[in-house]
């Protein structure tokens, strides 16, 4: 052989060997074990996909190992190359395992049951000769037919000595289930992959009211992410407006029920009203809308020193505790416009910082709400006047005032004390302007999502569960009959049974099958039951000799 030829055959041999190694059960086990171990850091270290803030905090708290862990994907274990390497190898091994087994199984299912062994009394189960009326050929046919009606795959044939035999087999569903189960694992992996390639989501806060709705475009989300195969232009078109939000709480403050009502339009169908809640998302074909959180957006009306009124209604306050104490800032950049020129006076823009208490406690301090429902709503307001700095085109923080402007004196606190306003009350500031607390609107946070692989995963998991049950509870077994010429036109029927898998109840089944398909003449029924003293610990002794599959 030429040198090149030798090299090529060595390469082929190595490749074949590695493939055999990779698809061996031992490798599958090791990879499974590695997969389990590799998942552990994902539960102990904070993960970016769960909470980016926790990751940042962790890195701050652990200045030495923190950044190092980041370099080895410690905070994104489940999308790390090493985690992927393990499961991809496992799945390659899986495919290499399934394909040959599927072929073998296909052949096994179509093959006729094997010939009956010569000595049935050597099998784990055995029934001694019993007379059955009829010639061997007739009885064989009858036995085979009876077995078939019991869903055995049975064949009657004459062996080389001319004796009639019946071989029957049952339980291929075990292997079918096993193959289905392993194949479905691949389907699930594909479903997960499709979901991450073609999925997308966007989160945002949605205040109730016709002036606060949004449409499904990436610009209108506070935060969004698109799978690598999706562009923003492909998002389905629809718009949502929150028309009503119902929140019910127990007296303890624990929530008992949330329900959001929205108007949907902009998707080509007429405007319609739909409701959704926690656990019951709004399903809109190519997108689902989930309800995540809720809170209040106080409405303030400010009457400036020239008597012009402005109302601010869609500014959400963020919750600071479970009793929905909420804080936020409401800005009136157009306050005190010079009525003659229409110009802003940079010294007299107005803003309020507020602490909203849906239920003001009975006595001070009024810093924490007593209950999340609006039983006795009130808002603590700090008034500021000065330059908000929002003309420069840089939008300030949404939920707070720009603290640096307060520190630098560009914004000044008006009056020394904050003021508590109940719904409908007003506060007249030192320059004669006035702020009124009109009430609140509700807001919710929604997550709008689409996972294109979800259905595939669901079907895959269904097949996994069903396949597992067939695989674990199925039992392969064989029974054989030999029919010798007996006296007086009868046949002498012996039977043997072979469980191919762990099967404690086989003895009983064997006895039942033999009695049913080859009913002995009434005068000579051997007592099947007397055989094994099966008081054995735990499992009977029936499955000796099974060889597994």
């Amino acid at each position: 052989m030429s040198r090149g030829g030798r090299l090529a055959s060595a390469v082929v041999a190595t490749a074949r060997n590695s493939w055999r190694q990779l698809t061996s059960m031992r490798t599958a086990l090791i990879l499974l074990f590695l997969l389990a171990v590799a998942a552990i850091p994902g539960s102990l270290l904070p993960q970016k996909s769960v909470s980016i803030e926790e990751v940042q905090q962790f890195v701050l708290d652990h200045p030495t190992v923190g950044p190092w862990l980041d370099r080895v994907w410690g905070y994104e274990v489940f999308s790390s190359p090493w985690f992927a390497a393990i499961y991809l190898l496992l799945f390659v091994s899986l495919v290499g395992c399934i394909l040959p087994r599927a072929g073998e199984h296909w052949r096994a299912v179509r093959a006729r049951p094997p010939a009956a062994p010569r000595r049935l009394d050597r099998l784990p189960e055995h029934a001694p000769a019993r007379p059955v009326d009829g010639a061997p050929a007739t009885v064989a046919a009858a036995v085979a037919a009876a077995l078939r009606s019991g869903r055995w795959r049975a064949v009657a044939r004459q062996d080389e000595t001319g004796e009639w035999t019946v071989s029957a087999e049952k339980g291929h569903l075990k292997e079918t289930g096993n193959l289905l189960f392993h194949t479905a694992l691949i389907a699930v992996l594909l479903g997960v992959a499709v979901g991450s390639w073609y999925g997308w989501h966007g989160n945002r806060l949605l205040v109730a009211g016709p002036d606060a709705g949004f449409c499904n475009t990436v610009q209108q989300y506070d935060e969004y992410s698109l799978g690598p195969r999706v562009t923003g232009a492909e998002l389905p078109k629809f718009c949502l407006e929150l028309t009503d939000f119902l929140a019910e709480y127990h007296d303890s403050g624990q929530p008992s029920k949330f329900r959001a009502t929205v108007a949907v339009d902009g998707d080509g169908s007429p405007r319609r009203t739909r409701t959704f809640s926690v656990n019951d998302p709004l399903r809109l074909g190519d997108a689902n809308v989930y309800l995540f959180g809720n809170g209040y957006a106080p409405t303030l009306r400010y009457t400036d020193r020239y008597g012009r009124q402005q109302t601010s209604a869609t500014t959400a306050f963020l919750r600071v505790d479970d009793a929905l104490t909420s804080e936020g800032a409401i800005k009136f950049p157009d306050a005190n416009l010079n009525p003659a020129t229409g110009e802003r006076d940079p010294k007299s823009q107005v803003a309020f910082e507020g602490l909203y208490l849906p239920t003001v406690p009975a006595s001070p301090p009024f810093v924490r709400s007593a209950h999340p429902a609006e039983r006795l709503p009130g808002i603590m307001l700090w008034a500021y006047r000065g330059d908000l700095g929002e003309d420069a085109g840089i939008p300030g923080p949404v939920y707070q005032l720009d603290k640096s402007r307060v520190e630098s004196g560009q914004l000044k606190l008006v009056g020394a004390e904050p003021r508590l306003l109940r719904a409908g009350e007003s506060w007249t500031l030192d320059d004669g302007s006035k702020v009124e607390f009109l009430g609140t609107r509700q807001w919710i946070t929604v997550s709008v999502r689409h996972d294109a692989g979800q259905e595939l995963v669901l079907v895959g998991v269904g097949v996994i569960v069903v396949g597992l049950m067939f695989s674990l509870f199925g039992r392969r077994r064989r029974v054989f009959f030999r029919l010798a010429e007996g006296a007086a036109g009868a046949s002498a029927v012996t039977a043997g049974g072979l469980p191919r898998t762990d099967y404690a109840g086989f003895a009983e089944e064997f006895a039942r099958v033999v009695a049913a398909v080859a009913p002995a003449r009434a005068d000579t029924v051997p007592d099947q039951r007397e055989r094994d003293g099966r008081d054995g610990v735990v499992a009977g002794s029936a499955d000796a000799g099974g060889t597994g599959t």
Partner: protein, 342 residues
Amino acid sequence: MMSALSDQLLIVTIVGYLAAMIGHAAEYALGQAHAAVGARPGVRQRAPEAAPVGAPSGVQGPPVSDLPDPPASPPGPPAGRYDGPAPATSRAAVYAGRAAIGATMAAAVAHLACLVTRAIAAGRPPWGNLYEFELSVTFVGVVVWLVVLARQPRLRQLGLFVSLAMVLLIGAAGLIAYTEIKPLMPALQSSWYVVHVSTIVIASGLFLFGAVPAVMFLVREGHERGLRSFPYSLGPRVPAAAGLERLTFRMHAFAFPLFTFGVAAGAIWAEAAWGRYWGWDPKETWSFISWVVYAGYLHARATPYIKRRTAVWLAVLGFATMLMNLFGVNLFVSGLHSYADV
């Protein structure tokens, strides 16, 4: 009122399992004494040199671990030494063992009553938080135990380990995880949640009970290999290894699809509640780990050339990961699931 009653019943339950444990221990001790009086080969006489660990006796006898379906006849060297569990031969031992089973049954009734009163007080099924979840899991475990016992009375020796596990787990539930009754959060008001939790409770109970014969198999099998240090010294007192191994497999074969279904139901619920069916939240991660380890156990058991001992170790490891999920994650790691517990 109901809630206070439930708390008192918890004490009764723990005391009941403790009594059962004492009964089983007494049975063990009396049986041991009797066995020592009788002409049983003394454990001490069998010095390690006599059976070098390097040449485990399992290699000579019918191999305990290498056959997929070992014959049911007790494996191991010279007959007579390992002829199955020595039935508790002294009369006092038998009484102690029976009393222990009686105590277990009484404790199980109190256990059930504790759960029912808790459910009545809360106006919902008793699995709204870690404490209730653990009480439910252990209850399933004890029911499985009693069912198995009714069918295989000779397994009574397992009782010492079962009642020990009960006392430890319920004690831990009461001491560490106790929570005042609270109504369910809206996120938990879902029929998939009910399906999810109930199947996981039952599967965990089965895994819990399955871990008992697994550990005892390791003890017995270790003893048969000539190990004589503490847990292995209990070897002669536990049933034959092959039977224990098979019971371990039965329990796991039953629990695994149920667990798979329960995790899947949880994913369906998570999709509706959180917008994603899987998010690698610590609880989900540990369920995944348990699932993979148990899958490894089933694989190992189905592989002829892998020792049964290795496979059973995987089952025990699987239960350790379940415990991590039940106690470790709830107590040390925070995640979305943790709000079910506070």
